[in-house]
Symmetry: C2
Subunit: 196 residues, 2 copies
């Protein structure tokens, strides 16, 4: 695609984004150069700023520009409840329900032995220190209901129970608004077992 090294370097760099192959990267580069050079510079500055200024909250491990994130600083939060999620996006999903007023711990990943991601990589020791600070009474495991999320919840749950903490898991069951006919068998089976 023409002879410019700057263009080839841009296409290569765009391919570092997840889900972007060489065709998408070329299309993105062409779009920015032909129609939105201002956008290219806005994106360049945003990347630079984010890469240098964003760090992890010392309490919950999510992204923040400060030592402690706004959620952990909020005095209205119930400090006896700690909700463990995989990512900031999962935390945002729980927040949107407005059904939880406690604090979070964001693993920033999940256990995945095949990818070499072990307990240390998801900050298990930090979570244990955080959960045994004397204020936390209940830890709610809100990792995803995937194989890896379940395994992560199991490992964390066992470690917390060994420290005599109350550990709960989000309820499994039939999604709100769904018709049984279209719900998968595993979900119905779990909903039967966990009926109340």
């Amino acid at each position: 695609m023409s002879d410019t090294n700057a263009l080839a370097a841009l296409i290569d760099a765009l391919r570092r984004l997840p889900g972007v192959g060489v065709k998408s990267a070329s299309r993105m580069a062409f779009h920015l150069l032909q129609h939105d050079r201002a956008g290219a510079q806005v994106l360049a500055r945003a990347l630079e700023k984010a890469a240098t200024q964003i760090r992890h909250c010392s309490l919950c491990h999510t992204f923040t520009e400060n030592e402690v994130c706004a959620t952990c600083q909020d005095p209205r939060r119930d400090r006896s409840k700690l909700c463990v999620v995989e990512t900031p996006a999962d935390q945002a999903a729980v927040e949107r329900t407005a059904a939880f007023g406690g604090l979070y711990f964001v693993l920033m990943g999940k256990l995945s032995p095949l990818d070499g991601i072990g307990p240390k990589d998801i900050g298990l020791d930090k979570l244990l220190a955080r959960a045994t600070d004397g204020e936390v009474r209940e830890v709610i495991l809100a990792t995803n209901f995937t194989a890896e999320g379940e395994a992560t919840a199991h490992v964390i749950g066992e470690a917390l129970k060994a420290r005599a903490l109350s550990v709960t898991r989000l309820a499994r069951g039939v999604p709100a608004g769904s018709e049984l006919e279209y719900v998968d068998l595993g979900t119905i089976a779990h909903a039967l077992v966990d009926r109340k």
Copy 2:
């Protein structure tokens, strides 16, 4: 997704890329911050460099860092043939065939009245000046075989014929390696009309 302005700004900026919505942008930002900060800085520098250093070749209008691109500078090229394509990616596709040794003119777009893209926006006056330089004998229209590409080829072709230039269009027909049973009717009809 947490409380950082730098992160929100990054997600907004990533959404300026074509085909990237808020979910993809969040995923990209999370990936860069969690797993590839070096990549974020590489991309930032590549964007900055491309946005400031890449301009258009004064002869063929493609992207280049120089006054004239490498293809137009190449003395081995046949200067009597000019192939008109929509984008640098289309030019690259023609180049990969190794079946064309002439020069190019890259429109950097196509006629699209609904989007307000007229002859001036695709550099029709530049193309006419380029094609009437005295060296060019034949102009090959290699715009896409879409409605807009065909309209673009028609408009350019009429303007060039009015200047007594030889104008050709890429042949339409059945793609190499295809079985007639699976080729669309329009293509077979064209291949019948253009049989030789």
